[in-house]
Structures are given as C-alpha cells and as structure tokens.
Symmetry: D3
Subunit: 225 residues, 6 copies
C-alpha cells in the first residue's frame, strides 16, 4: 500500500521528519511519501493561509495521486480534504476528522488542544461540519504559533500537559492533539494527563490503511465533483 | 455609501444585469459597482470551483476595497466571505448568510431552494456553520445548472414554484432562493407559493446598508487575521 | 416610510428621548412616532407585567397601525410581537429578535446582557422560541431594575462594561444589549469591550426599514390569525 | 385536597361536564371546582384569543386561589400557567406540559394531535419552551375548530383515530390528545391505535395530586415574581 | 393498589426502612412490598454490578409481579426497567426517569446530585437515553460510596447541601437526588438550598399510583418483547 | 496480534464461518479466535436476550482475555462492550460503535439497516448513547429475524438492497449493515445501492488492529470499574 502525505506548506523542512513519524505508526508493508507545496504558506493558522493553500494542495494531489492508494493532508485544519474527495476515487484523510472518529470510540467527551487561540473558531466550525459538536466538549489552545512548536520542545510539552489537564478538569475523557506539529508527542503527554491522548498522524495513517484494505471510500453522493 | 459587489466568476456577462438588480433594491444614495474575476470558474456549483475562486476573490477584494463601505460576494455559497472578514475592517456580506438571518424574522421553518442537487450537501454545511440548522427544515433543488437558469426563464420559474410548493408542504413557512441567479424572481414566486420568498440580492444589499449605517462590523475575535 | 414605535409602558416620559434615539439611527426619509400605553406597567421585567401589557399593546396597535408601514414594540422581551403578526399585514419588529438576527452575521457566539437576573429565564425562553439557542452562549444581567438605569448612567455603563467583558471571557464574540433602556449606549460599551455590541433600537429601526423596502412580511402560515 | 380548574373561556357551558371528567380521574378525597371567565374568548385557538384571556385567568386565579391546593388551567395551550407560577406558591398545572412529562415515561417518540392546523406553530413553541423537542416527533391536527368537537362526536373520534394512526406510522410510540375538548376520549382512541393515548385532563389532575401530596412546587428561581 | 418495590441488591437490610419511606409518600390505599435479590451486588455503582443485577431483577419480577399493579426498581440507575417493560403489561418505574419527568414541571434546568463521581457518565447516558439532555444542566457527586451514606447521615446531608448549592450557582433551578439511598432527605436539603429538591422514592411511588389509576402503561411499540 | 471474537449466543454453529469472515478482513499477522457462550440466547434481538447474555459475555471475556490484545463482541447491539471496558485494560470493540465511527469519515448522513423492526428503538438508544444522533438520519429494518438471514441468502440480499435504496432516497449517503449476520454481504449490496455500505465485521477488526497498534485504549475515566 502506498500513501501520499501532502504537507500543505511551502517548505520541505518537515518532510523528512514527518515521514519518520508516519512510518513509526504505519504497518510494515505501507510505503509513505511526504511532499510539500512548491510555494505556499509557512503554516496554516489563519483562514487566509488556508484559502491560499487549498488550490495548490489540489493541484499537487491531482498531479501525484495516481500511484497512491490514499492521500493524507498533513494538517489538522483538514485543508482541501473535501475538495479532493470530489475529484478522486480513493480515500482522502484529514487528521482532525480521523482523530475525532477514532476518539469517539475511546470516550464521549472529547477535547481538542491546538496551537493558537485564533484557531479555536476554525476548529469549532470543523466540529460542526463533521456533526461532532455533541462529542466535543472543549477546544483549548497552548498559545504558541506553529513555528514556535519546535523551537523549545520542552516548553511545548509542558504547555500541552497544562492545557490537556485543564480540559480533563472541564470534563473531557479523551484529548486530541489539534496540530500536526504535535505528532509524536501524544504518548508522553498521555502519561502525565491520565486520559487517552490522540496523535493526529498516527490516527491518520491507521485510518488510511483501514479504509484502503476494506475497499471503502467516501460517498460520492456527498462529495460530488 | 458605496458597495462593491464581486461576481466570483471569470466572466463579466452578468455584471450589468446584476448591477441593475442590486440598484433596484438599494437606497437612493447607495452607489453599487459590480466586478468579476479576471479568470475564474463559469459558476460555483462544486467544491472545486469554489476552492479555485476563493483566492481570486480575496485578491480582487484586497485590490479594490479601499473606496467601498462594504463588500458583497455575489454567490449563495458565500465563497471567501469568512476569509475576507479576517482581512478587512468593513462589512463583508454573503447572500446566503444574510438571507438566513433576515428570514429568521419572518418564520421559523426555513427552506432553501437551490439549482442542482449536488449543491445540497454544501448548503447543509453552510447551515451548520451558521448554526441555523434548527431553523432550516428543508433544502431542495430544481435540478438545473447555473448556466441553464437564464436560457428558459419560464421553465426556471415553473421549477422554482414547484419546489417552493413542495417545501411548503413539508412544513416550511419561508423560502430562500438559494442561488444568486434567481435574483429578481422572488416576488413572482411568492405570489404563487403563498409564503414569503427571499431574494438573496435584495437581502444582501439591505443588510450591507444596515450594517454600514449602524457602524457595525463582524467580530474580529471570530474572524481573526 | 412611517414607523410606529410602541412603548409598552403606562408612561410617556421616555417617548421623546426614544424618538430621538430612533431618529439618530433612521434613514433621512423615515418618519418615526413613539407612543405609549394609556395605562400599563412602569416597566416589563416580570411575566406578570408582560401579560398585563400585551392586550393593551395590541389594542393600541390596532387603533393606530393604518398610517404606518411597520411597527416596533419598544422592549427587548418582544411583548405582543407574535400576536400582532397574526393580526396585521405589515412588519412587526421585536428588538430582541431583530438583534439576534443581525448579530448572527457578526459572530457565532452571542451574549445577551440584560437588567435584572430574574429576566434571564425569560430571555432563555425567547432564544429557544426563536431557535437561536445554538448561537446564544451566555445571558447575563447587570442587576439593576429598569427605572434605575437612568438614575446613574455612569454606574449603568460601568456595570454593562463589566458584564460584557465577562461574557467575552466566557467565549462570546458579539454582545446584544438586552434592554431597550440601554439604547444609545452600544458604541461606548463596544470601545471598552473590543467585540461588537448591538444596540436594540438601532437594529430594530434598520430591520424595519429593510423589510418595508423589500416588501417582506412575516409568514402568515406561522402567524395565523 | 381541593383543586381549582379554570376554564379560560367566557362561557360556563362546559364547566359541569369538565367537572365530571376531572372527578372521574381524581382520587376519592380530591374536591374539584371548575370555573370560567366572566367574559373571555369562546375558545383559545389563536395567539390573540390567548393574549386576551391571560390577564383574565390571572385575575380570577388571584381572586379564588386561597382555598385551593393547586390550580389547573383547563386548556392545552397552557395559557397563563407561567405567569401564575410567578404569583402563587402552589402548584399550577398546564395540561400540555403535564401530558408531555408523563408521556415521556411511556415512550420516547411523542406525537401531539390537536384541533386545527393553525395551532401547530403554537404547540411547536410550547414544546421548545418545555425543552421537549427531542421527544416530540410529530404534531398533527384533525382540522376541526374547538366548537365543532362536540357537534358530531363520532366524526371527532374518527378524525382523531385517523390522525393518531398517521402519527404512529410516522414513528410515534405515544400520542397526546392536544385539546382539552378531547378529554374523556383517550381510552377509546387508544384501543384503535394500539399505542398509549394520553388524556390531558386525566394527567393534569393526577399530576396536581402528586405534586400537592409530595409538597412540591415550581422553582421560584425560574418563575420569579 | 399494590406496588412491588425491588431492591436490586443482595441484602435485605434496607427493605424495612425503604418500605417505611415509600409508605410515607404513598396514598392510604396503596399497599407496598419491598423485596431484594437472593444474591446480588451490595450496591449498584458500576456498570459491572448493574450487569450482574439485571437478570436477577428480571427473574424476581417475573416470579412476583402477578399480584401487583406496578413495579418500582429501587435504584436511580433504573436497572432492568426497560427490560421489564418488554416483558410485563403493567407500569414499571425507574426512580431516575420518574424524577426527571416530574422535575420538568417545576423548572427547566435540572441538576442531578449522586453519590460517586464514577457514576456521572452513567447518569449522562441515562439522560441521553431519556432525551432529557436539554433539561439537565449539571450532574454532580458528593463523593461517597452507597454504603457510606448511612454511616454518618449528618456528613451526607452536609455534602448534599454543598453540592446542591453548587448546582444552583451553576444555574440549576431544580435538583434531583440521584441515589435511592438519599430517599427521605429531600425536604431537609430543599430548605437549605432554596430551589425544589426531588426525592426519588417519593416521585416513584406517586408516578406509579398515577399511571395505575389512569390505566396507562409504557408503549409496547417501544418496549417490544 | 491476537483478537478474541465473542459470539454472544449459546451456539457455536457460526464460529467457524465468522472466523473466516474476520480473517478475510484481517491483516496477515492478526490471529483471530471466535468463541461462543456455553449457554445463552440464540440471537440478541430483544432487550431481554441482551440482558441475559451480558453477564455471560463478561464471564467468558474475563476468563479468556489474558492472551489477547483486543476483544470484539460479535453483535451489532454491542452487548457488554461498556461493561468490559470498565474491567479490562485493552480495546473492546462493538461493531455498531466502530461502524458509526468509520462511517462518519465517508459521509454525514448515515443509515443503519437492521433485521427486525423491533430492534429500531434499541439502535436509536445506541445512537443517542454514542452521541451520533446528528449523523444518523435513518434506521430501517428488513423484517427478518436473525435465524432467517441464512435460510435464503438471496432473499436477504434482495431485502437489504431494497431497504438500503430507501435509506438512500431518504437522504443517506452511507449505509451501515446493522447485524453481524450481514457480515460479508456489504460489497455486493454496495454495488447495487451506489453509496458506501459498511460491513460491521470488517470495520470491527480494522478498528481493533488500529487501536492495538496505536497503543490506544478507551478512557478509564469514562469506563470506570
């Protein structure tokens, strides 16, 4: 099975490390390629950067998809996922949507912890669109920007633990890490927080593998092109 | 007051007639300019055509907005409206969102009648995003494409009357015309259907005028740029 | 255009000042008359005072409506609005309902700030009736009675700013002033709070003007008489 | 225990028969008095007739309540019930609200069958106010007016059976008779329809007795006077 | 009328005191028998103890039901209630469901206060199943286990008052005591808290009496056996 | 990886064929054992048979779980799944819950098609408990009993196609086969119906594999033992 991971940003600095993270979760016989946009935003943290990125993600996917069994868009805002589904007859995975689906099997009060506060309305709208608003009981932010995540990983983890604990105190029984930049950190956070913590990259690859091996694809009735 | 109407399509064939329709609803002292994209889709009926159009709408709005008091994006999918709100400190109006708001003052079981069936999931998602899903009780389509609307206006009206009546039988107490291509037809339809029928262009211009004269603008807390 | 504003109270002491506030928001060619009940409650802060006032509002409206294009009931509990709609074939505006509709275009987490705590269940029921409960995320009170509002306007504003800020901290992205006695204060409050603050009188008159000029009226299917 | 039943109409023609129906459901030691308004509407089928009746119901209740343990307002629109709760420290029962509560113990898909179609929006609003909209899955009408119910009781029953069966086909597992004029007919209808049919008068008196004997009363926090 | 109360525990130590509590609420002509399981859990505080108890409750009910008019399962998790309804043609009462129904007539923001925090998800699921999630606004726990309730009744009352007050501060206008072990304490708590407090045993017996005397039973369409 | 599949019935006639179906979906390195209850119901189609089976499923799982990485309860009513989660620190999968989660990634209007009409309320309650009621838009039945499924597989398929098509006409964009007896039939049905059809066994095994390989387990905060 071959999975294409599209980094919806105009830089390839994360491609190699993202590939390693995805491979750490993938089955032995899954081959993963990570590509990024030729030019595009540095990160998707605003509606504007997302709007700019979407047509470029589509273009790249249309160019490359043929030799892949499924596509993951490597960002928790799930940019271009719906559009790609209207154009392609193979699974297209958004890490946020996939995390919500899997988390719904672990608990019934889900929290999303993302990077900056300004992303909260965007996640609120995703949750409404996915009809998961009864399951999601809090959306919180650690108040960093995406480029700051890597600068001081200790600080990032400490902030994540703090916000995940607050979400737990508010009632959450499962936490979703709401930024692909947090990929690889879930297990460490989980040990401190005491409730399941979902890694968006891990879930995305497992859902992709499951759909491909079940021969399942999105409904073309909903995603009409 | 000056209002910019952006036709999110790559043709100017409708600009003149749209300007007339908008002026027919506007106050005497409101000046309206209608512009269209240099290149862009012929109509916005799929998620793909919308994705392509959005950055171009943004670009055009950023270029022209300075001499206007408000911007209307002339399409009932409200493309680029949220993005523009994160970039501009003046009202940005989407005809669908404006129609829903005003319709909620006339009844409490709203129907949307749009062009093609494939647009129904897109309206469902808009309605969820706007948190109007309790108010909207049916979404129907006349099963034409946008370019077909003008070809045989008699047929278009007949189909609209038929679907509006079905919506009424399903319980609706107000109908929204869910395509800007239907602008100007509401009154005629209303007479046949017997419940209020909302013209998206008429509502858009009136809401724009109201917000400008009240000095009100979208919340930058929600539409953060 | 002529608009009738009915003060649902048994005193005319506010008629003149209310007229000025409404005129400050109205278009140049809109003529406004403000009338009050011959006898009636001093204010509408309980279900009892509302029940007493409703038939008197109806009686007065039936007597005067003929020379007007629309009627505004000048109270944020929207007393008699639904009843009048079953009796009259012209727009009847409730400031609360109108504020909710317009606010839904500015943000998606609306707060209402009203006078006394005992009014909170009444607003909760209005919000349910209008099917806006997904949009309204908090209802707060400044803990004054209506007659106290004017006594010390500085204190009133300070209390409003305090409660609007609390609503904002709870997540609200737009605030509605939930008492017509707060008319004229919105802009000042908005500057302190940093999110849009809606003036109920301003919105009521603009919505009345919009409906009249669009030739739109409530659905007689819903408001059957 | 003494229960006051207020007929919210300006005629006493039904007082005696209503007394008998209530007594047929009451416990042996419950004394029931039925009174009607001195002047008032013939029936409550519109928002206007309800608005007119409410202050008169309140006045009568305030005059008579002292020697009673609880008050039932004998109409399924539950007129004046909320207002009376803000004024009195004893149970005030609305037959619609009481029927909904008891019906929720018998099934989870409740239907209301009322007299005329124009009453449907009024029941929809009651159901929203009572927060029972998830439980109520259909509201239907037999298309008679209240005064017609008694004229041809055979026709009334036949129409009730027809509409109750339609509600059952739509999924309902319990039916509420949504007009006090249907009191006494539930058992006969139930035998034809095959799912429980709730008599509004029967439930009202049993709920009144239960609340009085448990020493329970509405929350004065919600019904503040 | 004869009512069977089944204590879903493997001990008869509470049977006598429970009988007294139920009789204190019952009508003079209601005869009450309280029985418990031959072997079973000490209390139902986990999903496991409930799963073990359910078939034993069913067995006992099937054995004894014939000489009774209705059955109450004496536990606020309402164990086996739905199953029994599919097997028996007489009212089967769960104290939680009955309390929710009656509480909905006293206020519209209901709180449940139960014993241990681990029971909260179980009540959340009951509330969803009963479709009362709009009415229930908080579920709290006093953090005792069932056997601890009786050990120091003063402490139990103090903890109940504390949690009921917190629920009231969160907005609740009615409180339900969410453990049958709290039966008999409601009035005392109510005096301290200032909003209605519902006794689950009191409500259960009154609802049983009402249903029996009205000849009403659960819908066999929903509870099919 | 070793997965235990528990057939919650008192017969082993299906164990071998179920093992084959599960293996047809499983990864190469997943080992599957299928066991059934020593004594138990023939099928789980009523609340009573489920209540009887649950303690036996628990007992069997407690006895066998140690050498397995995850447990699947092989019935779409998901019997004992929640209880087992409170007792075991490894994934416990219910085919219905797993199907709902995965289906939410393929469409947003899910239909469940099950065996007999009497199971519909049980699925309604599952959907409410899982907080998927916004996603599930219809629940239909083919009107066979479980033992009849295998008798005439051609008839079963024809009935499934008929009901799936009706669900699609009602708006569904994805269908879940709501009985484990339908396992293995999804692809054939899907080809006739034109929207994705979910096989409960296929999804259950893939979700089990995904959770095990991600090291994820249900929240012990929710499933407290």
């Amino acid at each position: 099975m071959k999975i294409l991971v599209i980094n919806p940003v105009g830089t390839d600095v994360w491609n190699e490390s993202d590939k390693k993270i995805y491979e750490s979760f993938a089955s032995g016989d899954t081959k993963i390629d990570v590509v990024s946009l030729e030019d595009g935003p540095i990160s998707i943290e605003t509606r504007y950067s997302e709007a700019i990125a979407v047509p470029k993600i589509v273009e790249l996917a249309l160019e490359l998809h043929e030799e892949y069994d499924a596509i993951i868009v490597n960002c928790c805002a799930d940019p271009a996922v719906d559009v790609l589904r209207t154009l392609l007859d193979k699974p297209v995975i958004g890490p946020c949507e996939a995390s919500l689906a899997l988390a719904s099997l672990l608990g019934k009060k889900l929290a999303i912890v993302t990077v900056s506060k300004t992303g909260i309305p965007i996640f609120e709208e995703l949750v409404l669109k996915y009809k998961f608003d009864k399951l999601v009981t809090s959306i919180r932010a650690i108040e960093l920007s995406v480029p700051e995540i890597d600068k001081d990983l200790g600080r990032t983890k400490a902030l994540l633990i703090k916000e995940c604990k607050k979400a737990e105190e508010e009632g959450a029984d499962v936490v979703l890490l709401g930024c692909i930049g947090f990929a690889g950190l879930a297990k460490e956070i989980e040990q401190e927080v005491g409730i399941p913590v979902i890694d968006p990259a891990g879930v995305a690859i497992k859902v992709a593998e499951a759909l491909v091996s079940l021969g399942l694809m999105h409904s073309r009735k909903r995603y009409f092109g």
